[in-house]
């Protein structure tokens, strides 16, 4: 590859100046003349029949313009994968965050006051508060179309796991519980609905895919897609939690009906109730291995709490078809998973898309196996982990270079482990405080980039070159969402590189369905990889036309990603993904045996970004993911009780503060380009999120000799397992 000029450089982000001066406009920062204010009335109860809804008193309040209900929505359903949630419930409420109606008034205060006057008579129904309960025979049914409350099932069988397990020299078992996680993006949901100058029903909001939002709005309003428009401004974080709609459809219904701009802004409590969460999942493993530690067979059961609606539960569960076994090779395996509808807040996408959960369980298993056969944690992993040319458990070839072995060795070495004989000697940190113990742990893993599973995938981009003798300005049109990760800046770098232009001659025209086709969502670590490919292809085409004297020269369209397949019965036919990210992390912790508090002393994180388009931003993604994982592992304790969320504030749901992340993290970055991604990039958005929990739990075991199978590792949970606990 020729010397790169712009790609590979840490350049100033396009949006950072606006963001440091307060000029960046997030959804709540838009105010237009004549704008109305909308207050959504949430059900606030997990399961109930709506007996009646009386808006008379609300409508009588001065300033109130309308109360919109199910009757105002032509096709009253929404949903990204499965349209199984009503825009406004007309009869049945299935979770606290269900929207029942919305009050629209001249002021936010009037809307808020009137919302309290809407009289809704509910008849509460029994609550399914966990997947296990929902799957019990005779449990009450939440969706008539999904008998047994089965939202989705997966099944895979390779070889003969039963026979292999029966014959195995060593068998280890485990059951793991991972909790829900709240995204806690700092910007609560907000948006403005209006009719644009072309008469389109328009919603300006924060999301992860303009076109996914658009399709749901158009379907609900029964309008052609070109009669709808979705625009994103600055977005205050997403992490998967904005893949599903929140305010979008309600705003569109209101603007469409009233023909006036309508704004809504959610409070933090509404945000926590109103959007999905990382799935709470129970995972049961039985592994068989040879006495030398070579893995042979696995039987794995996954029970996922989908919550009241599917959101992306079916897809998150499907990813366990490969990720359940971690980054390891098995000859025989059986994987059975079920996602169950319950009355909890829906499970949805969250950085890692099931991999934090699957990796936690698989890594705890390999750690236990190592203990059982007397191998150190590094050797047992190296003996079993996937290598270049290997296959996923589905039979799908692991295309591209697999850098995992290299990453594990680099991580181990940096963390202070040394090769000794045919194994590794690990650091044995000791605390100097009598009431504290130190421990060392390691975890390794992989994460697909891109959806895979046969989902048609691609990305649209268009590039227009202006100028006469030289290119004065390159316009890049993309609908890709910049959720804060810096996607627009990276795409600008890719355009500049392809065109041989300095960055300041590239102009990004972004996140508007009116100016660009579908870029696909910002999820699955795919935007740089695929959105970048689309921009590069568009730029190259425009450049060719420029060289053919087109003025302005324009190129682009839909770039189609290499095809993948769904899970096929014939293993050799499977080609489930085309790109992967790998990583290894080591953690040293100190635990206070009296209080149970864990302090993470040091982390070594070895990752392979393929190629870093903007090294500073790659680091930013890794750091951000790692700290979200620290929160999930240690402090973020999302508590629900009978379908009711008890941690609906940032004072009870504790995300890490700057005082909680004092851990020095050493990054070891090996760039091993993968040709599928533009300029060799691999996705880096998620991989660092999946490793801290198992690394810390392993370190905790090293410190105190106790395996913890349930997250988060709150002080209480840790202390309660110490023999001298007196509670």
């Amino acid at each position: 590859m020729p010397e790169l000029q712009v790609v590979g450089q840490t350049v100033e982000r396009l949006d950072s100046r606006a963001k440091v001066t307060g000029g960046a406009a997030y959804a709540a920062d838009i105010a237009v003349d004549g704008m109305l204010h909308m207050k959504i009335v949430f059900a606030g109860r997990p399961h109930a029949l709506i007996r009646s809804l009386d808006a008379t008193a609300a409508l009588a309040l001065p300033g109130v313009v309308d109360v919109i209900t199910a009757a105002d929505v032509p096709v009253n359903v929404r949903g990204l994968i499965r349209r199984d949630q009503q825009v406004f419930c007309d009869r049945l409420v299935r979770c606290e965050g269900d929207q029942v109606c919305a009050v629209i008034a001249e002021t936010a205060e009037a809307a808020e006051a009137a919302a309290r006057l809407v009289r809704i008579a509910y008849e509460d129904l029994p609550v399914l508060s966990s997947a296990e309960e929902a799957l019990r025979p005779g449990a009450i049914q939440l969706h008539a179309e999904w008998p047994g409350n089965v939202c989705h099932r997966i099944h895979l069988r390779q070889g003969d796991p039963d026979a292999a397990l029966a014959a195995a020299e060593v068998v280890v078992c485990g059951e793991f519980h991972t909790p829900m996680q709240e995204h806690a993006y700092l910007e609560p949901e907000a948006g403005l609905g209006y009719i644009d100058e072309a008469g389109r029903v328009t919603v300006r909001t924060s999301g992860q895919a303009t076109h996914d939002d658009l399709r749901q709005i158009a379907a609900a309003l029964n309008l052609p897609e070109d009669a709808v428009r979705v625009v994103y401004g600055a977005i205050g974080g997403a992490f998967g939690g904005r893949e599903d709609t929140s305010v979008q459809v309600a705003l569109a219904v209101a603007a469409h009906k009233l023909r006036r701009p309508v704004k809504t802004v959610w409070s933090r409590e509404e945000s926590i109730r109103g959007h999905g969460k990382r799935h709470a999942i129970t995972i049961r493993h039985t592994w068989g291995a040879r006495r030398d530690g070579t893995l042979q067979a696995a039987k794995i059961e996954i029970i996922s709490d989908a919550g009241a609606y599917n959101y992306t539960s079916s897809e998150v569960l499907a990813n366990f078809l490969y990720s359940a076994v971690g980054a390891y090779r098995f000859e025989h395996a059986q994987i059975d998973g079920v996602a169950a509808y319950t009355n909890n807040v829906p499970g949805c996408a969250f950085r890692g898309f099931g991999s934090p959960q699957s990796t936690f369980a698989a890594e705890m298993m390999i750690a236990r196996l190592g203990e059982a056969v007397g191998l150190d944690p590094i050797t047992i992993r190296l003996r079993n982990c996937v290598r270049t040319g290997d296959k996923l458990i589905t039979g799908s070839p692991l295309v591209g270079p697999v850098s995992l072995v290299e990453l594990i060795e680099a991580c181990a070495a940096r963390a202070g482990a040394v090769r000794e004989g045919d194994g590794w000697r690990l650091p044995t940190p000791e605390s100097t405080t009598p009431t504290k113990r130190r421990g060392f742990g390691i975890a390794v893993g992989m994460k697909n980039s891109g959806f895979g599973w046969g989902i048609p995938e691609g990305s649209y981009a268009r590039v227009v070159l202006h100028g006469a003798r030289r290119i004065e300005r390159a316009e890049v049109y993309t609908a890709a969402a910049d959720v804060g990760q810096g996607a627009h800046s990276v795409l600008a770098q890719i355009a500049a590189e392809t065109l041989g232009l300095p960055l300041d001659r590239v102009q990004m025209i972004v996140s508007d369905t009116a100016t660009a086709g579908d870029a696909g969502p910002c999820s699955a670590s795919r935007m740089t990889m695929y959105g970048g490919n689309a921009v590069r292809a568009a730029a190259a085409e425009a450049l060719a036309k420029w060289q053919n004297e087109d003025r302005p020269a324009s190129g682009g369209g839909r770039w189609v990603a290499p095809a993948t397949t769904a899970l096929l019965p014939d293993p050799d036919a499977n080609r489930n993904f085309v790109s992967y990210a790998y990583g290894a992390q080591a953690a040293e912790i100190e635990v206070d045996i009296d209080t149970g508090a864990i302090e993470v002393i040091r982390i070594v994180a070895a990752h392979d970004p393929g190629r870093a388009i903007n090294p500073q931003q790659v680091l930013g993604q890794l750091q951000g993911g790692l700290v979200q994982a620290l929160g999930w592992t240690l402090t973020e304790n999302f508590i629900t009780h009978d379908g009711r969320i008890e941690t609906d504030r940032l004072s009870t749901y504790l995300v890490p503060t700057i005082r909680d992340v004092t851990t020095p993290v050493e990054y070891v970055l090996l760039e091993r380009p993968d040709d599928v991604g533009v300029f060799g990039v691999r996705g880096v958005g998620e991989i660092s999120m999946i490793l801290p929990a198992p690394a810390i739990a392993a370190a905790l075991h090293d410190a105190v000799g106790v395996w913890h199978d349930r997250l988060p590792l709150t002080p209480e949970r840790v202390a309660a397992r110490w023999p001298e606990y007196t509670g």
Binding site: T10, D15, S16, G237, R268, G486, G620, L650, T657, I658
Partner: protein, 158 residues
């Protein structure tokens, strides 16, 4: 609805505003003055996105009533850059990669400004202490600390 009339100085300009008595300084700034750089991430003092400087000290604008701002001097993020010239901390945030989604940024920058005014050469522990009340969900904080250290060096050498 009861109203209050307050006179306060915001970003160097003294203004008199009549607004709802129960309104917080956060919404006085946003709705009455159109200063949208001050963000609402929780409205209960937990996230720091609404941080402004009141008489030079960082406070959560969401916990100050409009009437309590009477006679006070407020600096918001919009008032930090003079004549298009960025404050050294703003420059450092950009350069150090301390900005991702940016929703926390105005509050963080202002907390850091107050810190550097009191402590031109803060230790890492002092930085952490000063920024405890500002959550950031995107960056993991490392590059934010780096930005403040870089700005401190720059101010120091200026």
């Amino acid at each position: 609805m009861s109203q209050v009339t307050v006179t306060l100085t915001v970003n160097g300009q003294t203004q008199t505003i009549t607004t709802d008595a129960h309104k917080t300084l956060l919404y006085l700034l946003r709705d009455d003055l159109g200063l949208y750089g001050t963000k609402d991430g929780c409205s209960e003092g937990e996230c720091g996105a609404c941080t402004v400087l009141m008489d030079g000290r960082p406070v959560n604008a969401c916990l100050v009533l409009a009437g309590q701002a009477q006679g006070r001097t407020i600096i918001t993020i919009e008032g930090l850059a003079g004549d298009g010239e960025l404050h050294p901390l703003q420059r450092a945030f950009i350069r150090s990669g301390a900005v991702q989604c940016g929703f926390c940024t105005p509050g963080l920058v202002l907390s850091a400004v107050a810190l550097l005014e009191r402590q031109p050469d803060p230790t890492e522990a002092q930085i952490r202490q000063a920024l405890t009340g500002n959550l950031c969900r995107c960056t993991g904080y490392t590059q934010i600390i780096a930005a403040i250290q870089a700005a401190a060096r720059e101010v120091d050498h200026a």
